[in-house]
Symmetry: C2
Subunit: 482 residues, 2 copies
């Protein structure tokens, strides 16, 4: 139920063909800028035409390379029981990432710190439904930008034994992330044999592959660590205001990224990433949860299927500034599209607020609850004899009550979802409790999650090695490097 | 896009068969109580076995009768341009109904009055997406319960020229509703030729057809006014805690109601209504927006299709006591199921709060916004040349911006949905505005809707006749009658 096979088809085959063809045509005739010389040379060697920074991508080359990417792959966790498969039909969710601000009801909205990062990792780790972590879940603004990529990866590795997306947003930072992973997982050969982290690369839409992103992609590919290629398409900003046009850009940018990665390392895991959101022309800010974005999530699934790539799309996106009716509406709207698409990998599946500027703990608890409800729905409707309940109904008979019946008593705990967050308190009692809103209940919910957190521990020897590497790198990294 | 044809199949054909078979078996072997003598006699004449109040429904009779109900029908509005077809693939939405309380941010939650009823009708009438009205949208507690059915139908007829669901919740009240409609629509023959109102009947689950509901159903059927047959199934209360068991009750109760209606008047419009919600066993109250309820909405669509009946299911259900993150989560969860099911007729599609006890104006505005977003999604993804935007993308080229491009300027107003309710104000500006929540924006939204309301007027002669009828009936109705 609710898998890639049952995902609604928002594009006909003909429409899909047209978008595919235009994506390839853009690559071949308009081309992309590739702001990294080695990559340009490599592409030229493979038959692409290069003119200055511009690369005109040969369509056959692109499709041949993309075909080398696997339809699914395993991502190993340091606790092997927590390893996940991306592309096997079960969605893998991570919490929010990259937010400069953090917020909760107790302390309000403020710049993130490494302590906030630790806490967000712990709360996310405690949520069973989040089976993958995102390093850099909040930016630790109390640490230097030149080296904080090391601190957030350490925070993620230390407080969770789930697999993770590394913070790496440049070649050197990605190399550091890979170095940390080799320490945890027993060396470079081990992680090349079985990938242990993922990186996200966002081409600079429209149609630019900048130095950092190319180097991130190449560094990850060389180490056989999977790459999520996601154009950041804002309709009316970095993309046209028509979804079809935006999707053709998505094809051009994801396929060129995947082709480059496969050229570097055939068979490295690559995801087709979809992120398309309209700009609110009244403010110039992205408007999340809107109809175009939901359609884009569903269309992205169809594109990924066409190229037989695992799919990254959707998330718990919201533009709202507080965890209110708008935040929930936008987020549930977006998450429904995500769930229906049978999305393989969902970044930002919990905690995203204020257009991603804030990692909200209450929002995280709310989103986790929505994901749990989806997981329950995906189990479908059992129709064995006990579920059909003929005898129970016959025994109750006309006018009977099921409240205290044996059938109810035997099964309600397992069969009825009782939300720890959404309450059915009657109005008078609710007023006596001080009229707690959903945001207030979510505050209690993430605190329960944090209380339930169990430290997975980390081997002392590994920890010492990690610390030594970080200390060395912090000495090497000049202050001015970004 | 998002029609009954594309509705997710949450039951396999085999599961559907099993639920169908059990529904018929319950009718035949357990039977229903029918607490109205004429109806029992009629059913006995048609081959059902009757023992005291109990009727054992012959399966062939039931299926033969159900087959007489139309797959779709037209519901005529007093403004013919506002007539709707139920069952043609387009959803018909009404606002909330039957709530004893009304609330808005300005006056808080209080008992409903006829003035509140008038206002709710006006706001709902102003919402284009609500194409049908529900009389009794709030209970006017300032009017006697014995005759307020007349006042709310008058309020609905006076302030809206859309088709409507009458308040009738007993035989005499339904007869009054029909009498009012005959005055508006030019006599009994006219409304029998083309139906103008609908009634809702809820069997007393499990398996009781009480006097009022039978008489409501029979009175409507005799006048050829369509009937929405909706069992009110609370898992763990009036239904088992297993959805499959609950669905078999839904089959038994809807099919028996439809069969009775068709026996009275072959061909009268009948909807299969689905309302299945788990009880929160911690409070004994229904918990809305939960996974079982979403699955039930989708399963109900499959049942309705099996019997080729138009489908009523879902709505903007929420248990929350205020228009907060919980309310929005529950409601959007429920509305997504409703939309995906390609539901033909949706009662309570806007304004439902506090488990239906409160008609909230802010919630109404919020729900209307969600419905609008769905309507936009249902339009799908155009891929004509202008939408494909090849030239616009090529012209922008790598690193180009679409913000001020001719393509964007020409199309953004039509192609990007800009929500009047959901805002993308940056945090600093939002704080300066007093940090308005979604609830506050919804307050402004319904006031804009009320401001945009255009009085459809009502012919003076018709109005005088209606008033005379109401005055006569109020004299006739004894105070003690309910």
């Amino acid at each position: 139920m609710f898998t890639r096979e049952t995902a609604p088809k928002v594009l006909t085959d003909e429409q899909l063909d047209a978008i595919h063809a235009q994506g390839l045509r853009l690559l071949a005739e308009v081309g992309t800028d590739v702001l990294q010389e080695d990559a340009r040379k490599l592409l030229e060697q493979h038959g692409c035409r290069v003119d200055g920074d511009r690369v005109y991508w040969d369509s056959d080359f692109v499709l041949e390379q993309v075909a080398k990417a696997p339809a699914s792959f395993r991502l190993k966790a340091r606790n092997p029981e927590r390893s996940v498969v991306i592309g096997d039909g079960s969605p893998v969710y991570t919490q929010v990432g990259g937010s400069p601000f953090v917020s909760d009801l107790d302390q309000g909205r403020r710049s993130g710190t490494i302590a906030d990062h630790d806490r967000l990792v712990k709360v996310s780790h405690a949520a069973d439904v989040l089976t993958c972590m995102q390093s850099g879940t909040v930016e630790p603004m109390d640490l230097p930008p030149t080296s904080r990529h090391l601190d957030v990866d350490i925070s993620t590795i230390r407080w969770s034994d789930k697999p993770y997306v590394a913070y790496g947003t440049s070649g050197p930072k990605t190399a550091d992330a890979i170095e940390l992973a080799t320490i945890v997982h027993g060396g470079r050969a081990a992680i090349e044999a079985e990938p242990v982290l993922m990186v996200v690369v966002n081409p600079n839409s429209p149609l630019i592959w900048d130095t950092r992103m190319v180097e991130t992609l190449v560094t990850a590919a060389e180490a056989n660590q999977p790459i999520v290629v996601t154009p950041f398409l804002l309709a009316g900003g970095t993309a046209p205001v028509s979804l079809a046009g935006g999707l053709s850009l998505e094809v051009a940018e994801t396929l060129s990224g995947v082709a480059l990665a496969q050229t570097v390392r055939p068979g490295v895991g690559c995801l087709l990433g979809s992120f398309y959101t309209p700009l609110d022309m009244r403010t110039g800010s992205p408007a999340f949860g809107m109809p175009e974005a939901v359609l884009a999530i569903l269309a992205g699934r169809q594109l990924a299927d066409r190229y037989d790539l695992p799919y990254r799309g959707g998330g718990a996106f919201a533009s709202a500034n507080s965890v209110d009716a708008q935040a929930a509406s936008e987020s549930v709207m977006s998450l429904w599209g995500t769930m229906l698409a049978g999305t393989d990998f969902v970044l930002h599946a919990a905690g995203w607020l204020e257009g991603g500027l804030t990692a909200s703990l209450e929002k995280l608890a709310l989103d986790v609850e929505i994901l749990r409800i989806f997981e329950r729905m995906r189990q479908g409707i059992p129709t064995d004899d006990e579920a059909m309940a003929y005898d129970a109904i016959a025994e109750a008979g006309p006018g009977g009550m099921f409240l205290a019946s044996p059938h109810t008593m035997n099964h309600f705990r397992d069969w009825l979802y009782m939300s720890p967050l959404f309450r059915t308190t009657d109005f008078a009692a609710w007023e006596q409790q001080g009229a707690p809103t959903g945001e207030r209940e979510a505050n209690a919910a993430w605190k329960r999650m944090l209380e339930s957190y169990e430290d997975p521990g980390l081997d002392d020897g590994v920890r010492a090695e990690l610390d030594a590497f970080v200390a060395k790198r912090k000495q090497e990294i000049p202050d001015f490097e970004e």
